[in-house]
Symmetry: C2
Subunit: 170 residues, 2 copies
């Protein structure tokens, strides 16, 4: 993979993977720590993030909360996949905007009601595309994006999470 300071062209990424499928392996990683209250600091490669809860949910509102981050991930992954597949399908696309919402019932998180799941009970994802091509081409694009979008797949499908807890008693 490229290390120079300019983006690798999509055609080069595809050529590299086509000649060596092992080049398609990408391990994403986030590390972090709980700080005061519910505020968390996290690091992704060279990028630092502060995650917190709104005041009403017991935080100091120093950043977005985790479920808001999931929606940000879903909206931006869709947008990026639109960019990539517009190039792959040779469709001109001028604008992609999204609004992504998820409904939570906090009784799930807090264990206050049986049978209420802690995660989203509904997700609504609205995306707006603007461009000069006939509408049927954007419909074709949307179908390709939904088939290939990583975060839509992660959120939409069952994903086993291998968990390991290390306990150090002091």
């Amino acid at each position: 993979m490229s290390t120079e300071a300019t983006p690798t062209p999509l055609s080069d990424v595809i050529a590299a993977i086509t000649s060596d499928p092992a080049a398609a392996a990408f391990t994403a990683r986030a590390a972090g720590q709980l700080r005061e209250g519910v505020r968390c600091e996290a690091t992704v490669r060279t990028h630092d993030l502060v995650i917190d809860e709104p005041l009403a949910l017991g935080g100091t509102d120093a950043g977005p909360n985790p479920v808001e981050l999931v929606l940000t991930a879903l909206g931006t992954c869709q947008a990026i996949t639109y960019r990539i597949w517009a190039a792959l399908l040779d469709i001109r696309l001028d604008t992609v905007r999204f609004v992504t919402e998820g409904d939570l019932d906090l009784r799930g998180l807090l264990g206050l009601a049986e049978g209420v799941r802690p995660g989203f009970t509904a997700i609504r994802h609205r995306i707006e595309l603007v461009g000069p091509e006939p509408a049927h081409r954007y419909t074709e694009l949307a179908r390709a994006v939904d088939e290939h979008c990583p975060v839509l797949d992660i959120v939409g499908q069952t994903e086993p999470v291998d968990r390991e807890v290390t306990i150090s008693t002091t």
Copy 2:
């Protein structure tokens, strides 16, 4: 819900929801737009985020990418749920650290191989707890956290995403 500039105590959040279950409804929302290349700007309430891809994946590395954001959400949601459930179970907990990884096969995103899913093919979530209580109490805590963690539920279970695409041809 509270609007003052200090965090609402957890006991107040629970009291409010217990007296009125409708207070448990929380709709999270992210909105954003695709900018140059694959860079995206997103807004969550008052918080702005820049999401991008690494150079090797065709971006300018102006921020974490969407799948890294999912892992950040999972790690921090676990950490916050540890804080909340430690309080609910009256378990003293001094430190929570996490490292969360996900494996992707980029052939799924790029449509370069049949049967390769675009999302994570594996997720590894390592969490480290430090505190003065006997180990069995942290085991009890970990079980409660995994039952009640919103993002673990979102990532780990099938989540239907209601999608709507608006196309404006110019």
